[in-house]
């Protein structure tokens, strides 16, 4: 426990205020999270319903190359298995909308999503647009009993629900930090090999050219980006910074909204430049980081909280003088 507390202090930069949800406006924060968790379960139903038009594709497709969660499909006919998975996900998503207060229902929602996403990815290649949704539905299983009744919930229940909320935030931002870590680690490796690396002005143009060649596709900004490497360079560096330090932001509330907005913009540009679309990630960033009605933070405070560069602003602030 002491180790976890020390980690939190370290990531908070030793200066940032703690999560307002934990020490200030405890009940208000809790009431907000209740709505947010419910919206999450409505979004699971949205996934089920927005994929109705893929049912015929799944039924017409050839046999699955099953990932482990759908390994059992080998014992049944392909179409029976697919109907079972699609029906189960739809039924559990509906249950989740109405009864997400029950842990058993949340376990079923998680299993429904796990089976459905595993089936979608059982065609020889794994895509990652729904992974966060599956993992978040797993974390939400840990919501304490009684969390869904704002008025009746005891302080200990509220604290546990807020902890699960923070874990969800951590999971979302950890995925971005891992993406950033991968790019930075590989940049140092490529640097050592004398190759173009992520810090090089040609990095983004190379990514764009390769992606458009791979898919034989056109993107609105991609061709322009290939020919303007000096403008592409700051975008690539900003992306690295946003991604690498994303997980730190969970512990620095003043930066959560701008960071989430930055990551949503990153997804928008990823589509405009590379034709890569992660709509559910944008939704989850918005839901878990942009919905809270928090008092505005001063720009000075935000700058001081910045990872890596915040120290410079803290030294320049009048207080430290």
């Amino acid at each position: 426990m002491i180790f976890l507390r020390k980690c939190r202090r370290l990531l908070a930069g030793g200066h940032s205020s703690p999560q307002p949800g934990i020490f200030e406006g405890f009940s208000a924060a809790f009431a907000h999270r209740i709505i947010l968790f419910r919206v999450f379960y409505i979004s699971v139903l949205l996934v089920a319903m927005s994929n109705f038009d893929t049912w015929s594709f799944h039924l017409a497709s050839s046999d699955l190359i099953p990932l482990w969660p759908v390994g059992w499909t080998g014992y049944f006919s392909k179409n029976a298995s697919i109907i079972l998975i699609l029906g189960f996900q739809l039924a559990t998503a509906l249950l989740g909308v109405f009864f997400c207060g029950s842990r058993s229902v949340r376990i079923l929602v998680f299993l429904g999503l796990l089976e459905y996403v595993a089936m979608r990815n059982s065609y020889g290649k794994i895509g990652h647009s729904y992974h966060l949704l599956v993992l978040l539905s797993f974390l939400l299983i840990f919501l304490p009993r009684g969390w869904s009744r704002a008025s009746a919930a005891r302080r200990s229940v509220q604290a546990k629900a807020l902890l699960v909320f923070s874990a969800c935030q951590f999971l979302i931002m950890m995925s971005y930090s891992l993406a950033g870590l991968g790019k930075v680690a590989m940049a140092f490796y490529q640097m050592s090999q004398g190759q173009v690396h992520a810090f090089h002005p040609q990095a983004l143009p190379l990514h764009v050219a390769q992606r458009l060649l791979e898919t034989n596709s056109q993107s609105p900004l991609g061709p322009w980006m290939i020919d303007h490497s000096l403008l592409a360079w700051p975008m690539m560096q900003a992306t690295l910074y946003l991604q690498l330090f994303a997980v730190v932001i969970v512990f620095r509330p003043s930066l959560q909204k701008p960071w989430a907005a930055g990551l949503i913009l990153f997804h928008v540009f990823s589509f405009l430049i590379l034709t890569i679309n992660f709509p559910f990630n944008c939704f989850l960033l918005g839901l878990f980081f942009l919905t809270e009605n928090r008092p505005p933070t001063s720009l000075r405070r935000m700058l001081a909280d910045l990872p890596l560069f915040g120290m410079v602003f803290r030294l320049m602030s009048p207080k430290s003088a």
Binding site: M1, L4, A118, G124, L206, H207
Partner: protein, 155 residues
Amino acid sequence: MRSYCRLKITLAGFFLAYLALALSGLPNRDKEIFPFYSWFLFAAVPHAGNHYEVRILKNGGQSFNPPIPYAQAANIAIFPQAITAYQFIQKMGRSYDRGDSAEFAELAGLFQRDFLIGATTYQLLRIYYDPIERWHGKEAVTEVLQTIETTPAAP
């Protein structure tokens, strides 16, 4: 308070397990442990090097000269512009170059089944190019690895 601490430790355990499982899949990109993904997307900057491509020679009664790249074969390819198709072809090419004939045969069978419409004859090529130069129209250096003739699917 005790149950709060227990929950905190459980969640920390989940994140540690997640990291262990996600990062253990890194050495072999074809062995990802679903749903524990490392999120190492676009980690390496592409550079001049070998890639693999499928080009269609024949489909049904129609022959193509020059052969059509899979990504441009709209009426023959099921997913011509999907990144999944590109990545599947890379997987096939890597298994060919490793000399893993069993895996290659399996992947070629799956490719016919899931990515092609009708009986098709196609080439698997190894191509060497610099992405930006190729984007600007420079020809890639190509080498045919194998010509594969698929049989019509059973009714």
